[in-house]
Structure formats: structure tokens, C-alpha cells
């Protein structure tokens, strides 16, 4: 409902946005009539909700084809990019964070913490441009855009996606590593860790069996919240790399005031976010017996 209202109060009218500022007034009126955008706000909303309930997302105003035709490929693209970024960043950041925690206050900790934070402080699009200049233009080893040619194999696609994924890795690393570090430090101080040491277990076993399991809980929550950012939050990255993901689609939909497309895209981002949070909760209970047991009681 909020998205809907916001989309409606966007300045300008739909026919005008599609046909451009210099289009003939008659043409604009005619198009609005045809699209139904001259109807009342409530009628349009009811229309859309009715469609969604029947599994029909409607037609895009600007592209005049079913929203699904545009939405699903974009979702697939976003998923590929997010997956690659996670595959690289999550293990890296967790290992980094834990290593920093174990070396708390010493040089490796300082390097990882300060390096990670500095990288996070630089916006992803700056990283994107830097990476393009270095790897695509100077060294000429990776492509400048992320969209692999149609029918490309998995490896080729990964090659095309590497640069944008790396830009995301830089931004996410510091964040996730910090969480992993904080979680680890907390568990290292916990009573059960001391008990484990006192009963004579080796440092290795203590870390693996007691520390890691507990310390990764907050990290998982953080990773889950980043899913929402990866789906829909990457407008600039997707534009720079000419990648047709959810962010780019949303950007163009808003530019064109393409109401059914905006609505459905935002709805989809919401669903993805919810799903990610749900998966995180499930993982939580899997890793933490206390949550599981609490439910059983």
C-alpha cells in the first residue's frame, strides 16, 4: 500500500513519461486512456491486487509486455550475482573475522579490522569503477560489463560477474568480518569456553566445537539482511556493469513511472527479503540447540 501510494505521488503522468516531454498532448491522453492510468488511484490498485491474487502481475506500461517476462530474468540475474558475491565473501569474511578475534589487539586483527572498515566505507560504485579500470581496461583480463552473451556457460558467466561481485565483496567484507570478530570475542570470553579449556580440551577443539558454532549466530543474521541489499539495492553497480538485475529494472520502472512494474518489483524484493530472514531463522535454530529446545518445551 505504501509503495503504491508513493508510486502514485511520483510527479508527472504515465503517458507523458512514456512518450517523452515533447509528445503531442493528444497522444499522451490517448495512451493514458489505453493504459487505464487516468482512472482513480483506488481502481488501479484494486485492479493490480486482484491480478496478483490470481497470479497475474499485469503488463508493464512502458514495455507493453507481461511484467513476469521482465521480472523473472532480472530475478535470476540478481540471484546469480548475489550468489557469487556470497560464495566469495562469506567464507573470506568469517575466516578473517575469526582470525582477527583470535589475534585480538595484535597486528593481524588491526589489519583486518581497519582494512575491512576502510573498504566498506568506500561506496560500491567507486570500487566498481576502480576494478573496471584496473582489470578490464589496464590489464584487459576481465570484461567491462557483467552481462554474459546469451547461451554462455557457467564459467563464462562467472567470469563476467567477477568484477561486480568483487566490488560487493569489498563492501560486505568489513561488515561481515566485524560481526564474526565480535561474536568470536564474545564466545571466547563466555563461561562455557573457559569450562571447555579447564576440562583439558585443546585450543583447536574448543574453537571448532564451542566457539565457532556460537559465534557465527550474529553473522548469519547480518548475512541475511544483506540479501535484501543485493536484490534491488545494487542500482548503481548494475547500471555501471550494464547488468540487467532487479536494481536496474526498478530504476527504469521508476523512471518510466511504470506502475505495475514498480509494484511487482518492490513486492518481489520484499518477498526475497522475507525469505532470506526466514532461512536465517531456520539456520539459527539448527546451529543453536537452545532455540530449538525452547520451542519444544
Amino acid at each position: 500500500m505504501i509503495i503504491f501510494t508513493a508510486a502514485q505521488v511520483l510527479p508527472g503522468d504515465v503517458g507523458r513519461a512514456i512518450l517523452g516531454p515533447f509528445a503531442d498532448d493528444r497522444a499522451v491522453e490517448q495512451l493514458n486512456e489505453e493504459l487505464g492510468t487516468n482512472r482513480s488511484v483506488f481502481v488501479q490498485y484494486a485492479d493490480w491486487v486482484g491480478g496478483v491474487l490470481r497470479g497475474d502481475l499485469g503488463d508493464s506500461y512502458a514495455f507493453r509486455r507481461p511484467v513476469g517476462d521482465l521480472l523473472w530474468p532480472a530475478l535470476e540475474n540478481s540471484a546469480k550475482l548475489a550468489l557469487l558475491a556470497f560464495i566469495v565473501v562469506v567464507p573470506l569474511a568469517v575466516v578473517g573475522g575469526v582470525a582477527a578475534a583470535l589475534a585480538q589487539g595484535r597486528l593481524p586483527d588491526r589489519l583486518i579490522s581497519i582494512g575491512g572498515l576502510s573498504a566498506t566505507a568506500i561506496p560500491e560504485f567507486v570500487w566498481a569503477v576502480l576494478l573496471i579500470i584496473v582489470f578490464a581496461l589496464w590489464l584487459d583480463v576481465l570484461p567491462v560489463s557483467a552481462q554474459a552473451p546469451a547461451g554462455a556457460g557457467l564459467l563464462t558467466e562467472a567470469k563476467y560477474l567477477l568484477l561486480p561481485a568483487l566490488a560487493l565483496v569489498f563492501v560486505l567484507f568489513g561488515y561481515i568480518a566485524r560481526m564474526a570478530r565480535a561474536g568470536t570475542i564474545e564466545t571466547l570470553d563466555a563461561d562455557y569456553t573457559r569450562t571447555a579449556y579447564l576440562k583439558g580440551l585443546s585450543r583447536r577443539t574448543v574453537i571448532r566445537r564451542h566457539v565457532l558454532r556460537n559465534s557465527l549466530l550474529p553473522t548469519i543474521a547480518v548475512v541475511a539482511t544483506q540479501v535484501g541489499y543485493l536484490f534491488g539495492g545494487l542500482v548503481v553497480i548494475e547500471l555501471i556493469f550494464n547488468y540487467h538485475g532487479i536494481g536496474e529494472l526498478l530504476f527504469r520502472a521508476v523512471q518510466q513511472q511504470d506502475f505495475p512494474l514498480i509494484q511487482s518489483t518492490v513486492l518481489l524484493i520484499g518477498v526475497v527479503y522475507l525469505a532470506a530472514t526466514l532461512v536465517a531463522d531456520l539456520l539459527y535454530s539448527l546451529l543453536n540447540p537452545r532455540i530449538r529446545l525452547a520451542r519444544d518445551e
Partner: protein
């Protein structure tokens, strides 16, 4: 020479009064050869007879002192292009569905022009080249134009092109019911039903009013009017139906189009060289520039100096400049304080250092404007009208005379597009010198065009290229003009513009142009700071791409040099 004169006389007998008048103008030295060719092409004289008459009747060899003309032609350093290969061209992502009726953006029109063709092609010199129309001719006063339709041309699905198809296409665009974008050009000129196939190969177009430049309105300049089959069903994206040199292979919305060359293409001189051609869509300017630099595309249909600086200095890139009439208008509302006094408007126009704007914003790749739509590129522009130059002292004096010597504060509305925000700041800085305190208000396009464009006391609006100044003269400036942001209403001006539009020969067009230019320079409802060039680029390995100021790119003769 006598033999030549005799042959010219022979030719003259077969031509209309208007054609003969044009030949007189050339013989009397009133127009240069280039203008003769340009103007003659509008009236439907064939290029070969134009060249012959031009040689026989003399006339200046060139435009003379108009300053450096950008190359206009493609770069020749790489040698002749070879046949074969797969071309990859980066274009601006089309803004919406690819429908010939509604396309209104540069990306969309570039796609239309690959598989589709126009009656007439408006080339980068603003000369008209016959395409699907073999020739054309006006009646006495220019109210009826007759087009001879090329025979033996087929659409990509094999159906032959007929005069019926042409008439149906024109009527389709002229009918307000079809919500076509071309209505902005056809409005008041051509009504639905005005085009009629009188036989298999002839279309007669009866206009609402005489129009000396009608062939431009059915040329590639009015980019929507690619000729479609009479039974066109509205779904162009399915087949990209047309008669052009490139046949659709695959279209992926948002991503791009691939074409194969049309083996049955009618024009033997423009048979595609490359085997295939791919257009890749880029939503972001920076991504397009990087794509060319990174070797992902061979050709870039368009880039701007702002954001494309890297291409101008890259030694692996050839830049193609086409002089154009695209520009920005700085409009002032003449019906409201503070700009209701023309001295105030003149003052603001006088503080601008136009040469510096052209240098700073475009690295010199623009013409200086003289506060009228008559861009230097138009043949009808009277270049003897003195150029307005920066004069801060006079500006200060004018403000004092107008009773606002202490200056005033005003908002400058515009939107975030290429160099416009920088232009706004440069105007702000220049105006400060005479006490006008400008606050730039930069919004997005939607907000600007809905809330500010036609109501703001001071605004900057962008205008794309046109082959003739007609639309620039009418829409933003006549009393009835639909885009009249300055709210300018001047009966004398309206009358002059009507005269200009109806004028059929260059001599009388230029005479009216001079009066319009002087009137606008005096009234200054709009500041025209510059007309910027259309820039395209290719890698050094590619030559033969022919962009136009409008944003079309003819790739039929483009190819790899090695």
C-alpha cells in the same frame, strides 16, 4: 561551357518554377553550391542533376567564412572497410516498447532505422537522399507533394512495397487516434487521409497548409515514420518489419538486437558489408563508454562530452563529429517580473561568455548560438546578423535602465542531464556579476517537465536535433505554441514564422529568417547559448559507420579495416 548551358536550359524546361528559381539563385551567386544541393534535394532534384547544374552555373565553392565545419564524414585513417565480420554497436537502451508509433527516444529510433527505412534519408549534411521515394515534387504553392515510390523493393517477409503501404503508414502516424509521436511534426501539417496512393507507384500528399519543408517530415528526421506494410498489426517487436539492409535475427528486450544482412536489399550501393550486426543496449552513459574502451563493442552510436572525455583523448578511438541543431534553451517568462522587461532579458544574455561555454562544456565541439533557433548548421540561417557577445558593462547598464540596478533573486529550474547542471551553475556565476542572484533548482526529468518547465520564471530545457528549424520556431515561441515556456506572445513574430514555414525557396526563407533572428535578438525570450555536435565513436579497426545528427546510425557500409 555553351554546351553545358544548353543542357541546363533543357533541364530547366522540365522542372517546376521553384526549381528554376533555385537555379537562378545559384547562378546569381546568392547561394553556395552546397546550399544549392541541400535545397535542391528538398525540392526533389536528383543529386546527379544537382551536381551537373552546380558545376555549370558556378557559385561559390563552399560556404566560405562559416568557420571550421566538423568532418561530418567518417574517419578515413584506417582505410577502406572489408566485407564480412560481426559488428557490435553500443546504443542507449530504448526507453520503452519498440513501436514505430510511440518511440520517442534516441535508443529507440536507432533501432527503427536498422531494419526500417524512410521515404527520404536526411544525411549528416542535412541533405535529403532518396530512399523508398525515388523522387518528389511539390505543386505550385507547396500544399501538395507527390512522391514516386521505388519499385522492386520487398519487405523482409517477401511482400513487395507498394504506394498503398506508404500512404497507409503516413495516415497511420497522422491520425491522432493512434497516439503517434510523429504527431508533434504532423500536427497542423498533415491530417489522416491526406496521403493517397494514386497508382501503384505514386503517393500524393495533400497538406493542411503549404509547407516548403515537407520532405523533411517524411525523412529520417521524423524518425517514427519508417514505412510499414499497409496491414501492420501494431506488434513491431515480433518481426522488426521493414525494407532495410538488416533483418531481425533475435531481439532480447532490455539487452539488445542481432541482425543478419538482408540478401535482397534493393540498394546495390548500400549492401551491408558485415555479415551480422548486433546492437547492445546500455542504460548508463558510463557503461557505454567503458564498453567501447574495453572492446565489448566496436561502435558507439552516441556519447556526450560530459562523461565521454576519456574517448576524446583515447588514441585507439576514432570520434565522428556531426554538426547538429540540438541545443539547450534558457527561457525567461516574459509575462512576469522580473523578466517582463526585455532589457533584463538582454542583460542576462549579455553576461554569458558563449565561447567559454562551448570550450568548457564541450571542448569546442559545439556552435555558438545567437539567441534564435537558427543554428549555424541550417542553410536558411542568415549569418550576417551580428553575433551577440559578452558585454558585462552593457548588461549592468540595461539592468539600471530597467530600474533593477541592484539586481534581484530568481530560481533557475532545470533537470539533471549531461552538462545542464554545470550550465546552470555557470549562468549563476555569470549573473552574479550584475547582481542577479540565481539559485539553480535541479530536479529529475519527470518533476521538471511536470511542475517547472512551462511555469518557471527562468528555466533550461533540452531540445534534440531537427533537420529544419520549423519546430524550434513554432512550439516554444509562437503564441499558440504548446511548449511556450517563456509565454512569449508576439503577433509580428507569429506572422513571420507563418511566412517562413510557407516559404518554398531558400532566398525568401533566408529573408524571413533574418527578420526573425533580429526580432528574437531584440526581444530575447530565450537564450540559445550553443548548438552542440552529435558525437559517435568507433575503434580504430572500424570505419564506414554513418551517424546523423538525429541519432540514427547507418551501419550498412561499416566494416573492419583489417
Amino acid at each position: 561551357m555553351d554546351e553545358a548551358k544548353r543542357r541546363v536550359d533543357e533541364l530547366r524546361k522540365s522542372r517546376s518554377e521553384l526549381d528554376n528559381h533555385l537555379i537562378d539563385e545559384l547562378a546569381a551567386g546568392k547561394i553556395s553550391r552546397r546550399e544549392f544541393v541541400r535545397r535542391g534535394s528538398v525540392l526533389g532534384l536528383s543529386l546527379s542533376s544537382l551536381a551537373f547544374i552546380a558545376a555549370a552555373c558556378g557559385g561559390d565553392d563552399d560556404d566560405g567564412g562559416e568557420g571550421a565545419t566538423p568532418t561530418g564524414a567518417t574517419d578515413t585513417t584506417g582505410g577502406a572497410p572489408q566485407a564480412g565480420g560481426a559488428l557490435r554497436t553500443g546504443i542507449i537502451a530504448p526507453a520503452g516498447a519498440l513501436d514505430p508509433l510511440t518511440v520517442a527516444d534516441e535508443g529507440g529510433l536507432a533501432v527503427l532505422g536498422q531494419s526500417g527505412e524512410y521515404l527520404v534519408w536526411s544525411n549528416e549534411q542535412l541533405e535529403l537522399e532518396p530512399r523508398l521515394a525515388e523522387s518528389w515534387e511539390p505543386n505550385e504553392d507547396g500544399s501538395v507533394w507527390t512522391f514516386a515510390i521505388r519499385q522492386g523493393v520487398t519487405f523482409h517477409d517477401g511482400t513487395p512495397l507498394t504506394a498503398e503501404d506508404v500512404a497507409a503508414t503516413l495516415n497511420l502516424h497522422a491520425d491522432p487516434k493512434n497516439k503517434g509521436n510523429a504527431l508533434s511534426a504532423f500536427g497542423g501539417v498533415l491530417s489522416a487521409g491526406g496521403a493517397e496512393a494514386v497508382d501503384e507507384a505514386t503517393v500524393e500528399v495533400t497538406l493542411d497548409a503549404p509547407n516548403g519543408n515537407f520532405p523533411y517530415l517524411v525523412s529520417s528526421d521524423n524518425y517514427n515514420v519508417i514505412i510499414l506494410p499497409a496491414n501492420f498489426d501494431g506488434n513491431w517487436e515480433r518481426s522488426f518489419q521493414g525494407t532495410g539492409p538488416w533483418v531481425l535475427d533475435r531481439f532480447t528486450p532490455q539487452q539488445g538486437v542481432t541482425y543478419t544482412k538482408n540478401p535482397d536489399y534493393w540498394d546495390t550501393e548500400r549492401q551491408p558489408l558485415a555479415d551480422t550486426s548486433e546492437l547492445r543496449f546500455y542504460a548508463e552513459d558510463q557503461a557505454r563508454v567503458l564498453a567501447l574502451q574495453g572492446g565489448e563493442v566496436d561502435i558507439l552510436s552516441q556519447f556526450a562530452v560530459v562523461g565521454g572525455e576519456a574517448l576524446l583523448s583515447d588514441e585507439n578511438i576514432s570520434v565522428i563529429e556531426v554538426r547538429a541543431s540540438q541545443h539547450r534553451q534558457v527561457h525567461m517568462r516574459v509575462d512576469q517580473e522580473p523578466f517582463n522587461d526585455k532589457r533584463v532579458r538582454q542583460a542576462l544574455a549579455l553576461v554569458l561568455d558563449r565561447e567559454a561555454l562551448v570550450e568548457g562544456l564541450f571542448q569546442g565541439k559545439a556552435d555558438v548560438g545567437n539567441d534564435s533557433p537558427f543554428a549555424p548548421v541550417f542553410p536558411s540561417t542568415d549569418t550576417s546578423v551580428p553575433q551577440r557577445a559578452q558585454d558585462v558593462e552593457q548588461a549592468r547598464q540595461l539592468l539600471a535602465d530597467a530600474g533593477v540596478g541592484d539586481g534581484f533573486a530568481v530560481d533557475l529550474s532545470t533537470w539533471d542531464n549531461y552538462e545542464i547542471p554545470e550550465l546552470a551553475v555557470l549562468i549563476q556565476n555569470a549573473a552574479r556579476e550584475i547582481g542577479i542572484r540565481i539559485t539553480p533548482k535541479v530536479t529529475d526529468a519527470g518533476t521538471y517537465y511536470t511542475d517547472f518547465w512551462l511555469n518557471s520564471p527562468l528555466g533550461i530545457t533540452d531540445y534534440g536535433h531537427r533537420g529544419v528549424p520549423n519546430v524550434f520556431l513554432t512550439a516554444p515561441l509562437t503564441s499558440e505554441g504548446t511548449w511556450n515556456a517563456p509565454h512569449f506572445a508576439n503577433a509580428e513574430y507569429d506572422r513571420l514564422v507563418a511566412d517562413y514555414v510557407a516559404a518554398l525557396d531558400l532566398d525568401s526563407q533566408r529573408a524571413v529568417a533574418k527578420q526573425i533572428q533580429e526580432l528574437l535578438l531584440d526581444e530575447t525570450p530565450i537564450i540559445f547559448p550553443y548548438f552542440y555536435f552529435h558525437l559517435s565513436a568507433t575503434t580504430k579497426e572500424v570505419t564506414g559507420a554513418e551517424p546523423t545528427g538525429m541519432g540514427h546510425i547507418d551501419l550498412s557500409r561499416a566494416g573492419f579495416t583489417a
